[in-house]
Amino acid sequence: MSQNIRPDRDFTTLKDYRRTGGYQGIRKALTELRPKQVQQLVKDAGLRGRGGAGFSTGLKWSLVPMEDDSAADIRQTRYFLANADEMEPGAFKDRLLLEQDPHQLIEGIIIGAYAIQANIAYIFMRGEYRLAAKRVAHALQEARDHSYLGEHILDTDFNLEIYLHTSAGRYICGEETALLNALQGRRSIPRAKPPFAVVSGLWGRPTVANNVETLCNVPHILHYGVDWYHSLGLGADQGTKLFGVSGRVKHPGLWELPMGTPIREIIEEHAGGMQDGYRLRGFLPGGASTDFLLPEHLDVLMDYDAVAKAGSRMGTGTIIVLDDQTCPVQMVLNLEEFFAQESCGWCTPCRDGLPWTVTLLKDIVAGRGRMEDLYTLAGLTRMLGPGHTFCALAPGAMEPLQSALKFFREDFERYIIGNSATREPA
């Protein structure tokens, strides 16, 4: 995935991309395989969604009603979407792929669109990613000029146009169905599921949306095959993953590593360990909407199931490190302010629960907290839990809070008792 990422941060042109095996994947898919075979191949590869949920990509594609299904005859139009609305605090992995190797994404989209026989695809990109937008637009034009897009791609019957849409900017737009609404020019509120987008998505048509990183895996699976892909992972999951580390480590950054790389290796080797004078207190393994893990969890492998077993989620794979001189209460407050701000306002627990959470945390930090507030906060983490809200935003928002209340309770209590002087935030 990251073979074309250059240290000078320049981007890969079509010529460069082709030199390293680029656009071989679509040749294989379009000229040798039928759409169902592509779906099966990706399913066999065991690729799981890199946007955070970890759903099997091939399985998602196979849920789209196709020509041989009874429902398909009335519904010829299908859409394929690349979700490039990366906006979770701490996540910056898709940005790298978008800015520096846009053709890899385009090839992934073409293969995905072919697999579900969609003739129109959209890249829904976070509005702030201006450089990425510029480079993707340039790459799209290159692809069009070389007939990788348009009619009769590679002299086959397959037609595809990809449109780049830059978002007006809301975290919730990254939610697959809210993204659909946003793309249709509506308020970006999530949709009820079922029906899932694969049945009724963009303008009510069957639609697949995949994360950028997910799609960047696809050309290589096609080009190098399932066995090769299986050989990459260390643990239960297949392939490689972009892992990031932010916080007070020596070398914050992003690395492509095998699925199942131990967290200790990521933080201590690749990120160089903690900065001098700071000790690791805990970390969010998969971005802002995952539960804290503690130093004792450093040997957990970064794959979906192992992190889940440890009590958190691998999410986007972008680790946020909490050091011993940063106040976990204020860190959580900072995160909850983000989530409360970004709540779309549709369902009650999220719309009214997150602002109340922020009010309570602010009160605590300002020395106005009461002990029963911790009880109220704990109640809110349950109230806003999975299945209780309309989408996953609020449950995600509650993950760092619920684990902070568990692991760093004394920090909360210290504010309330009024003895916060010893732990002033750095």
């Binding site: 809301r170 079922p194 009724s200 009214d352 997150l354 109340w356 009010t359 209780h388």
Partner: protein, 902 residues
């Protein structure tokens, strides 16, 4: 059917529904906000959480939202489980973080769904200590108050306003707990159905501004079942009174007619009852005062002295009042009081409904149509509530596709998403653009002749035996074929037509189309001008012009005019001549108008809110309305005035008149059963009009006398003007107020329905008078195409929801929403006349006499050669549909309409 276990009890329930609707149908109490039976599920409020168990062994269960979970055979759920109750209570606590706790001073208090649900869940303690967010409110026009601080963001308002009613000027702005439901700027809400926000909103964000002006608590309002008098649809309404003043109208649920919703004319048109123009005194010309006895004597004397009495009936009065008049003057002297054109149209519609063999659909049936042709009507303006039903019918193809995709019909947003790829065929052929054009798959505009010709062509396309109009152009032929194809392919095709075009040919063409579709059980719905137009057509009588002739010929010398301003029905000269010729003019009416001014004896009559009667709606459904409060002397119900001078009449009571009327007209034979009679009691008691919590009865007249006056008695209906008695188990036709323990708001209706959104228990009120039988022969009278003549324009009257109806126009809020009077012209015609928008034209008759000056609005969808004017506006009285006029750009200084009238 499916068997499900709820809280350990087995129930057999409908498949395919969601659990919330199912639980409510079973009579269980489950709180909710965003769900509404008319709007489907949204899943936003998270209030209807229940516990669902995986299988028989699962003890834990998991929370699901009942509104988003389909019934499945064998499922186990719990409403009362601790976890579910806790969640619902906590959810209310969250809603309350920004809700002001000032119920005692809130207008919604006492009928607030939020209040009900809060009590139901048991949330009593507030833990939130933060500041509540506040909002600015907006001016939303004369109908609706806006109080955003009360909002709990259930999204019902925008889902109703945008998705259901099809308007877009009310939107949701902002994000997180700062969402704001309002307009992009202050201004009157543009939807004709905005008043429903008052009832759709579960709390007090949108309240009735006309009610605010004379506010009373719901429990302090005296109420009786009533029927809207402002158009022909017969929507059921619940008017409320306090201190002898009609305070407001709310919807009275009817499963077949209006469902949960009314139009704004029906909701806000009531204030005419309280108008300063109300006739509250009797008047004998030349006398200073007049008592009831004097008036009755005078009436009697006049009748005795008269040499032939003409009775002029009224399509806005009840069957009983009209029948009493008919009995008084005799069949030969009974005139319907309609102009010739309307008279002919109503007779034609009546014959088609009676003998045509085509089903006349209820609004509920209209909502089920899967292909629609609207011929010649702008339904939003001629029968507003029907437009809302047609708008829902336009979703039926999407429902069909949803079913194929296994999407539940109550998954509202998901079904709406399919609308674009599954359009229901809706064809609108009308004079000019209509408010339903956005749901139309095709629109076509033409004059009445051309609309009729298109209709005849469609019928011919469906059946060769139907006559074919000559010389149709290619566009018309193609469109007719296209429409015919869609109608033929439909399972439940619907044709809508009516009287708006003043064209018999349009009505006949509509019938031909329906008749040409024998295989598919077509439905034919007509919109009519007034609330009892069809009732009068059934009763039958002569046209008004014949009354004028009879007076002229000396066949009669006196006239009794019942609730009819005949200046609206004929030219001023004709009516003046008629009334001046008459020796005695008796007018019975409730509001001052041009006709009442000419009365030698003016009898003050009760309005719909103070009297009883039976009306027949456009569908052919006879419905009874009841007095909400007693009239005060000397005002009487019309039928009482008429009976008071019929000394040898066998009838003493209203029920006698209803029975006699039923006996006199075979088609009306069943009207007695429209509602229980005055002898109906529950456990020996009459039905109370006042809620049990009605307050102040002993004190409300204390400023006049400290002794408590006895309650007025009511001999004519099954109701009492009191709170004694019970409303339990009374049939829907006489159910005065919708209330159930724990359910103070109108949403208590779910306790009275067979199932949520279905028919009322013991049957929806009213009696249908016609069922499709027989067949009529093809109508063959096809008019030639309309040819615009240079220099001459044909007047076409276009109805408008606000202003075209006589009574509601006297309600200040409605009057405020009436559009300024202007004339519509096609751009080419405007160019010919060298005028632009807002310029004034002089309208002259072909001889050159100035009729009036009028500002012009250019309307590109109006066919050239037509001059479009608003129906029913007093300012436009000299102009009638079909008149030919000449137009000239007029002197900009001479713009005053009234002064320029010739």
């Amino acid at each position: 059917m499916a068997r499900i276990e709820i809280d350990g009890e087995l129930h057999t329930v409908q498949d395919g529904n969601n659990l919330l609707s199912t639980c409510l149908s079973l009579g269980l109490d489950l709180p909710y906000f965003c769900w509404h039976p008319a709007l489907g599920s949204a899943g936003a409020c998270r209030q209807c959480a229940i516990l669902q168990y995986r299988d028989a062994d699962d003890q834990q269960g998991h929370l699901v939202m009942a509104c988003m979970t389909p019934v499945q055979d064998g499922m186990r759920i719990a409403l009362t489980a601790q976890q579910a109750r806790q969640f619902r209570r906590d959810n209310i606590e969250l809603l309350m973080t920004n809700h002001p706790h000032y119920c005692p001073v809130c207008e919604e208090g006492g009928e607030c769904h939020l209040q009900d649900m809060t009590l139901l869940t048991g949330h009593t303690m507030r833990r939130f200590r933060g500041q509540k967010r506040t909002h600015d409110n907006q001016y939303l026009g004369p109908f609706i108050n806006h109080e955003m601080n009360r909002c709990i963001a259930c999204y019902r308002c925008v889902r109703f306003y945008n998705d259901y009613a099809g308007s877009d000027d009310l939107q949701v702005f902002g994000i997180h707990n700062n969402v704001y439901f309002g307009r992009f700027e202050d201004g009157a809400l543009q939807s004709e159905f905005s008043g429903n926000l008052v009832e759709v909103c579960p709390t007090g964000v949108f309240t009735d501004k006309t009610f605010s002006a004379h506010y009373a608590r719901k429990w302090d309002l005296q109420t009786a079942p009533s029927v809207c008098v402002h158009c022909s649809l017969g929507c059921n309404v619940a008017p409320g009174e306090r201190y002898g003043e009609l305070r407001r109208i709310v919807n009275r649920y009817h499963g077949e007619v209006n469902g949960y919703l009314l139009c704004d004319r029906g909701r806000f048109g009531y204030d005419f009852v309280n108008s300063p123009k109300r006739i509250r005194k009797l008047h004998i010309a030349g006398q200073a005062s007049c008592s009831v006895t004097m008036a009755t004597d005078k009436f009697h004397t006049m009748l005795q002295a008269a040499d032939g009495v003409i009775g002029i009936a009224s399509p806005r009065a009840s069957l009983e009042a009209n029948f009493a008049l008919r009995a008084l003057v005799g069949e030969d002297n009974f005139f319907l009081g309609l102009d010739d054109s309307e008279h002919t149209l109503l007779n034609a519609i009546h014959e088609v409904m009676r003998d045509g063999g085509i089903h006349s659909p209820s609004l509920q049936e209209i909502e089920q149509a899967d292909a629609i042709l609207i011929l010649g009507e702008d339904v939003t303006h001629s029968a507003p509530r029907m437009a809302l039903s047609l708008r829902q019918a336009a979703r039926n193809a999407a429902f069909a596709l949803a079913s194929k995709l296994h999407i539940q019909p109550w998954q509202d947003a998901a079904v709406r998403e399919l609308r674009k790829q599954a359009p229901t065929p809706v064809f609108i052929a009308s004079i000019c653009s209509t408010r339903l054009d956005d749901i139309a798959t095709n629109t076509w505009h033409g004059g009445p002749e051309d609309l009729a010709r298109l209709g005849f062509a469609i019928a011919h396309n469906l059946n060769d035996a139907a006559p074919l109009p000559a010389a149709l152009n290619e566009d018309q032929q193609a469109l007719a074929a296209n429409i015919a194809r869609a109608l033929r392919q439909a399972q439940r095709p619907l044709i809508v037509s009516g009287t708006s075009c003043s064209s018999l040919a349009v009505i006949q063409a509509a019938y031909n189309i329906a008749r040409a579709l024998p295989e598919s059980a077509p439905q034919l719905a007509f919109t009519l001008p007034e609330c009892n137009s069809l009732g009068m057509a059934i009763m039958g009588g002569k046209p008004l012009q014949q009354a004028f002739a009879a007076m002229n010929q000396g066949l009669a010398d006196s006239v009794v005019i019942l609730e009819n301003d005949i200046y609206r029905r004929a030219s001023t000269q004709q009516v003046d001549a008629f009334l001046e010729t008459a020796r005695h003019v008796v007018v019975i009416d409730s509001l001052q108008n041009n006709t009442t001014e000419k009365a030698a004896l003016l009898l003050a009559t009760a309005t719909f809110a103070e009297s009883e009667g039976t009306l027949v709606n456009n569908e052919g459904r006879a419905q009874r309305y009841f007095p909400v409060y007693p009239v005060t002397d000397p005002v009487r119900a019309s039928w009482q005035w008429l009976l008071s001078v019929m000394t040898d009449s066998p009838w003493a009571h209203h029920d006698d008149l209803t029975s006699a009327c039923a006996g006199a007209f075979p088609e009306l034979a069943t009207i007695v059963a429209a509602a229980p009679g005055a002898d109906y009691t529950v456990e020996g008691c009459k039905i109370p009009r006042q809620p049990q919590r009605y307050s102040g009865r002993t004190a409300m007249h204390a400023n006049i006398a400290v002794s408590e006056p006895g309650q007025p008695s009511d001999q004519e209906t099954p109701f009492t003007f009191s709170m004694e008695g019970t409303t339990a188990k009374v049939p829907p036709a006489v159910l005065p107020v919708i209330w159930a323990p724990g359910w103070d708001s109108n949403q208590a209706i779910n306790k009275f329905q067979e199932e949520t959104g279905g028919s009322l228990r013991a049957g929806d009120p009213g009696i249908r008078l016609f069922e499709a039988s027989g067949t009529q022969s093809w109508f063959n009278d096809i008019p030639p195409a309309f040819q615009a003549q240079p220099g001459v324009w044909k007047v076409i009257m276009l109805p408008h929801i606000f202003g075209s109806e006589e009574l509601s126009l006297q309600s200040p809020a409605i009057a405020e929403r009436c559009p300024a009077v202007c004339a519509l012209l096609h751009p080419l015609d405007a160019e010919t006349l060298a005028i632009s928008d807002c310029d004034t034209v002089a309208i002259r008759d072909p001889s050159g006499t100035l009729i009036m000056n009028m500002p012009i609005r250019i309307e590109k969808t109006l066919p050239p050669g037509l001059l479009g004017l608003a129906t029913g506006r007093p300012e436009l009285q000299p102009l009638q549909s079909g008149m030919l006029v000449c137009l000239h750009k007029s002197d900009p200084l001479a713009t005053d309409v009234s002064e320029e009238r010739s």
